[in-house]
């Protein structure tokens, strides 16, 4: 029997390791299949010659116009600090802590701008804060969007990855990294009264903690149970929907209903 189309494709892309011996042996003895492989190679080589996808003249200016307004906010100071080479690792831990405080304080300040604290007039609170507030909101929106993106990607890896210890070790580390940020974002959402984000991040945190603390000898059944829980909660889908919504709205959290302040 000759090699199938699928055999030839796997062989062409070097993905036939499991059946390499069978395919090689057949190719060595079958001129028709060698010819079929040769035709496949020549056919797919045509794809490499295509210059498809060249953008129109002036593309760079168009692209710059699309992103320019969104770059007006300079990189946050901690990002600038992190980009200075040797200081990167030395300040990473302290930056995370400071960013956490700033994150929390930012939302406290946001609340004050909505409802003046006792002893301060609305005019005093609002005076001179509009621009920094807008800037902070945009930075926070980006940070939350980044976090949701990273969480989505990690859960997709868990949902679709292999049931092996190497995969587990990588995901465990990533989950552990995400837990701290998740708590910070969740506290922010809770303070702002954003129940949908708070609820989702609460579910996410439990899953992240489970993954971060998973034992080394996680069995295939354990993996299945974990994936089943992801399916049941629809966590990945909910994350994607929320991330899309936040991205579209460019708002870090949804404003709480009027009159519901804390």
């Amino acid at each position: 029997m000759h090699l199938t189309h699928d055999d030839l494709v796997l062989h062409y892309y070097g993905e036939s390791a499991a059946e390499a011996a069978r395919i090689d042996a057949h190719l060595a003895s079958c001129g028709d299949c060698r010819q079929a492989l040769y035709r496949l190679q020549r056919t797919l080589a045509l794809v490499d010659t295509s210059a498809e996808g060249e953008p129109a003249p002036g593309y760079e200016a168009t692209m710059w116009a699309r992103i320019q307004d969104q770059l007006d906010t300079p990189l946050p100071w901690w990002r600038r600090l992190l980009s200075t080479g040797t200081a990167r690792w030395a300040v990473a831990a302290s930056t995370a802590a400071v960013a956490g405080v700033a994150f929390y304080a930012g939302w406290q300040a946001r609340d004050l701008s909505v409802v003046p604290a006792s002893g301060g007039s609305p005019a005093t609170v609002a005076s001179g804060t509009a621009s920094p507030e807008a800037t902070r909101e945009r930075v926070l929106a980006l940070e939350i969007g980044d976090h949701l993106d990273r969480a989505q990607f990690m859960l997709a890896e868990v949902a679709n990855g292999d049931d092996d210890t190497a995969s587990l070790a990588a995901e465990r580390q990533r989950a552990s990294d995400l837990v701290a940020t998740n708590r910070l974002v969740r506290q922010t959402a809770a303070l702002a009264g954003d129940e949908s984000l708070d609820g989702l991040l609460d579910d996410l945190e439990r899953t992240l903690v489970d993954i971060a603390n998973a034992p080394d000898d996680l069995t295939a059944d354990d993996w299945r149970a974990l994936r089943a829980r992801l399916d049941t909660q629809g966590l990945l889908f909910r994350l994607r929907v929320l991330a899309d919504e936040r991205r579209a709205g460019q708002s870090p959290v949804n404003p709480r209903p009027k009159g519901k302040t804390s």
């Binding site: 892309y13 045509l46 996808g53 770059l71 300079p74 980006l142 980044d146 997709a156 679709n160 994607r240």
Partner: protein, 207 residues
């Protein structure tokens, strides 16, 4: 593995001086210096994004998102690395996110019945003219036409395998597919490309 101009350059390529200067300026607080990177790499990233999405408008969205992500993550960029390689990875990931989102929303073009294009009944145009001069032009057109006939998922899986050199396992993970589903997307894409392009191979060698 096929070679072509869309693979990212080796990671140890020296970074262009204007890239270094732009990154330093952006890091120092001048966001407008980022334009240098858009001018130098935008066109390349568009070709990468287009090959994965198959649509210029979608590719523009992907490149925009990629540049914004790169801007936000510039502090994480390792100065010793090659910027184009780094941007290429971001753009591919953005394209994958885009394709996955599109898949979730089940756009009509994504649910095309694959079997209708299988085999010899594929409604492709007639084999090209054997004239060599016309053939070169026709090859480019036919490749573009063939790629457009793939479903978005097939196109993404095929391009990730063929041009990005990603393994089928990686493609499955990236696109949110089981490995078998990713494998079959690649198989079907290659089958469609063969149906469309093999007559060109024959014409080329029949002269």
């Amino acid at each position: 593995m096929p070679a072509n101009g869309f693979r990212p350059p080796p990671s140890n390529s020296p970074m262009h001086e204007s890239d270094q200067a732009a990154i330093a300026a952006v890091s120092a607080g001048d966001p407008h210096a980022f334009r240098v990177l858009v001018d130098r790499h935008g066109r390349y990233l568009h070709r990468v994004a287009y090959r994965l999405t198959g649509d210029h408008s979608d590719a523009e969205d992907v490149v925009q998102e990629a540049f914004l992500k790169a801007y936000r993550q510039l502090g994480r960029f390792e100065a010793r690395a090659d910027l184009r390689t780094w941007l290429h990875k971001i753009a591919v990931n953005c394209a994958i996110d885009f394709i996955r989102a599109r898949k979730t929303r089940a756009m009509p073009s994504a649910v095309e019945d694959l079997d209708t294009l299988d085999g010899g009944d594929t409604p492709m145009a007639q084999p090209p003219s054997p004239d060599r001069q016309l053939l070169s032009t026709e090859i480019g057109e036919r490749v573009a036409e063939s790629l457009q006939r793939l479903t978005p998922l097939e196109r993404a899986a095929f391009m990730l395998r063929h041009l990005e050199g990603r393994s089928i396992d990686e493609i499955g993970t990236s696109l949110g597919l089981r490995t078998e589903a990713a494998k079959h997307s690649v198989f079907r894409a290659v089958k469609k490309m063969r149906v469309a392009l093999e007559p060109l191979v024959d014409a080329r060698h029949g002269e």
